[in-house]
């Protein structure tokens, strides 16, 4: 492993710090890289990038590894923030983290590292990458399984791909859910390409968050007791509204209309409301309201007090912008899906016809929000997913 150069994305948080420490301990030639994706202060939200940068650098010093900074502010603005703003303007609720992984971390970052001489990259995501075995059985489409001989230990699970040499490997690599179901971050990673996975290590995939905290303390890392960060500040729930106002200007207030077509109040801008959302409506008294629809041209938000309203529940999901990590599954395949990070997996049947991908769910779920991702699993394996229309 001495000869395998791994560039670790150090964010200044505990997860990426432990990632670097584990790889160092295993004998990889590790370099830490801080990705500067955002540094702008926003009103009431000073950007903590410098502290994070210094924490990342300090971890590199503590581990005795080289440290670099890559400036991807232009790429992050162009590929993530602009996409996010366009989606909100269109009345949808995007996942900037999904886009950040697709466009920044597992694209420009990966490319920059490989250009700089890295063999592999690693991040502190809770997920697993494993070589696949193709097992073609009778009428079924290929089923993805990871090699059982290398399932549960980090060393073993990463060893095959190292031993064979990542650049020349003909093996296929798949994305799998993390050991820690509670922390599993595959929801945000389903748009990563197979080629990127081939060059990626996720050492934390076989650890739980409490185990990672313990390791951080064991390694005596400066980030051991650092609070969980939400990544880029405005992506967290608290900041998004202020950020949208900052970027798009103050929004027009408009009517809130209930299930009977009666105006029940006013809203501060339709873009701030998320379909299925219960909070955020300043309408006094009575039952809670749920957002069931938005008319962006009329600047109206439609709500209901009826938790059983048919608009709030669905058993079919139609997806656009489908991405499959490995081969495309077949219509009729039985899969599991989730429409939110950490949501329970729901059994579904896949229907791919004439360019549209539809999932028929075994149980009704709360209506998925347009713009959000639906991620499709086959047991532990992530097949891919798409954007809810």
């Amino acid at each position: 492993m001495k000869n395998t150069k791994v560039y670790v994305g150090l964010s200044g948080g505990v997860d990426s710090s432990v990632t670097a420490a584990l790889l160092k301990e295993q004998g990889y030639d590790v370099t830490g890289v801080y990705m500067k994706n955002w540094s702008q202060d926003l009103p009431g939200m000073p950007c903590p990038w410098k502290e994070d940068y210094q924490d990342a650098k300090r971890v590199a010093v503590q581990l005795g590894i080289p440290f670099k900074m890559y400036d991807f502010q232009k790429e992050y603005r162009g590929k993530v923030v602009d996409y996010m703003l366009a989606e909100y303007k269109a009345g949808r609720t995007p996942n900037p983290d999904v886009m950040c992984n697709q466009e920044v971390k597992f694209k420009v970052f990966l490319e920059a590292c490989l250009d700089d001489g890295a063999d592999m990259i690693a991040t502190g995501h809770y997920a697993r990458v494993k070589p696949l075995e193709r097992r073609t059985t009778s009428s079924q489409s290929p089923v993805l399984t990871c090699r059982t001989d290398s399932y549960d230990s980090l060393h073993a699970s990463t060893a095959p791909c190292i031993a064979s040499g990542p650049k020349t490997s003909e093996k296929e690599y798949g994305l799998f859910r993390a050991k820690d179901d509670n922390k599993d971050q595959t929801y945000f990673l389903y748009r990563v390409t197979e080629d990127a996975l081939k060059h990626t290590l996720f050492p934390l995939g076989n650890y739980t968050k409490p185990e990672v905290r313990t390791l951080a303390a064991k390694f005596n890392l400066v980030t051991a007791t650092k609070k969980e960060s939400m990544g880029i500040c405005f992506v967290g729930k608290v900041g998004i509204k202020d950020f949208l106002i900052h970027e798009l200007g103050p929004q027009q207030s408009g009517e809130v209309i209930n299930q009977d077509g009666v105006v029940v109040g006013t809203h501060e801008g339709a873009i701030f409301y998320t379909i299925g959302q219960r909070h955020g409506l300043d309408i006094g008294g009575g039952l809670p309201y749920y957002v069931i629809g938005k008319d962006m041209t009329k600047n109206q938000v439609r709500v209901t007090t009826d938790i059983n309203d048919e608009n709030l529940w669905t058993n079919t999901l139609t997806l656009s912008d489908i991405h499959w990590i490995n081969q495309t599954p077949k219509s009729g395949d039985h899969v599991q899906v989730r429409t939110r990070h950490r949501a329970p997996l729901v059994d579904a049947t896949l229907d791919i016809s004439e360019g549209t991908t539809t999932l028929t769910l075994k149980d009704d779920i709360r209506a998925a929000t347009p713009g959000q991702s639906t991620v499709i699993y086959s047991s532990k394996a992530v097949l891919g997913g798409g954007i809810v229309i």
Partner: protein, 378 residues
């Protein structure tokens, strides 16, 4: 791990003897000095005793001592105080002033006086810039980054000549001389009259006293516009109930600094010599910025090719605390204006480290720092 602290220009330990003097005022002697019952009057008289104690060190009158919350506030009161009275006039400040002088000067009609490669104010430039509309000159006594000590006497002589000229030309605009002396008291005399100073700022946090304590000396006859309005404390120049414990602490800290000054200057001068000699022989890539004749506790260096922030962190991991001389290239901060002013390039500035010694520093400390630094950068 036993740590070595070499950032005394940033903060000093609170002297336990000073803390003992402060303690009663944090607890039992909590009374508002402006109240008229006897307990409060006793506190008032203790505050006035502290004022006298400070005045003695400066060879000034007690009435000339204004207690402030640190030197930043003192600098702001001084510059705002004059400039708000003479809004059409101009303030001259040296190019290597602390931000607390530069930032407030920038609020008014101002100009920067350049320094030479050693950080000394260029006196011929100062003369040129002393136009008839200048009302205030502010030049720091000793620089906090590179340790340059200014020739205050020479500057005040130039100022006196300009004042005489103005009298002759019937120019009624006064001309005042202020100095930020935050780094001075441990090592330099503070006899304000000798330097022709009209105002001097001091900071308790750099002299083994409490943080957020300080003094502005204001010579008799100078009228300042206050920055803070209220109950009229500190002769109307700094309203707000007195920080009594801070005032008491400052006064004892300053008194002790003055007592130890000569011996400390001699001791630290020797250590400074050992430090710079050791660097020359063991860290050949190091260039010493601090010139001879500078403040005896400062050793500012650049080491070609290093990432100063990383070396600072590595020293810290080895138990040695120091400062990066300037922001590193990764941050979007500007490089130190002080280093730019003395002619260092941005690249040089980003390789700089600052060590500032103090009462706890020993020769063994310095030997260890040189060994660790040599291991890290060679």
């Amino acid at each position: 791990m036993k740590t070595i602290y070499l950032d005394h220009a940033a903060a000093t330990l609170l002297d336990p003897a000073v803390l003992r003097q402060m303690q009663p005022y944090l607890t039992d002697q909590f009374y508002n000095p402006s109240a008229t019952y006897l307990m409060a009057k006793k506190v008032r008289s203790d505050v006035e005793e502290a004022r006298t104690r400070v005045a003695k060190v400066l060879a000034a009158r007690p009435r000339e001592i204004i207690f402030t919350a640190g030197a930043t506030e003192a600098n702001n009161i001084a510059i705002h105080g004059v400039m708000a009275k003479f809004p059409q006039a101009k303030v001259l400040v040296s190019a290597i002033e602390h931000d607390s002088v530069l930032e407030i000067a920038q609020q008014y009609n101002h100009a920067l006086v350049p320094v030479d490669n050693f950080g000394q104010v260029q006196l011929d430039e100062l003369k040129k810039q002393l136009t008839p509309d200048v009302v205030l000159v502010s030049v720091m006594y000793a620089n906090n980054e590179i340790g340059t000590i200014q020739n205050l006497t020479a500057i005040s002589k130039i100022i006196a000549e300009v004042k005489a000229e103005r009298q002759k030309n019937k120019n009624p605009l006064p001309l005042y001389f202020h100095s930020d002396g935050a780094q001075a008291p441990n090592l330099l005399p503070l006899l304000v009259k000798n330097y022709g100073l009209d105002m001097l700022s001091l900071n308790g946090g750099k002299i083994y006293g409490p943080k957020q304590s300080g003094v502005l000396y204001v010579a008799t006859g100078i009228e300042l516009e206050p920055l803070i309005y209220g109950g009229g404390q500190e002769f109307g120049l700094r309203s707000g109930t007195e920080n009594v414990a801070g005032i008491i602490g400052f006064s004892f800290a300053l008194e002790k600094a003055a007592k130890k000054r000569a011996a400390e200057a001699k001791r630290l001068s020797a250590l400074q010599h050992i430090f710079t000699q050791g660097l020359s022989s063991h860290v050949p890539t190091a260039t010493i910025t601090t010139q001879s004749g500078a403040l005896h506790n400062v050793v500012h260096i650049t080491i070609s090719g290093i990432d100063n922030e990383r070396v600072m962190m590595e020293l810290d991991e080895a138990g040695i605390m120091c400062a990066v001389g300037s922001a590193c290239s990764a941050s979007s901060d500007e490089p130190s204006h002080v280093l730019t002013a003395i002619g260092l390039s941005d690249e040089q500035a980003q390789t700089s480290l600052r060590f500032t010694m103090g009462r706890s520093t020993t020769e063994a400390n310095i030997t260890r720092v040189i060994n660790v630094l040599a291991r890290l950068v060679n």
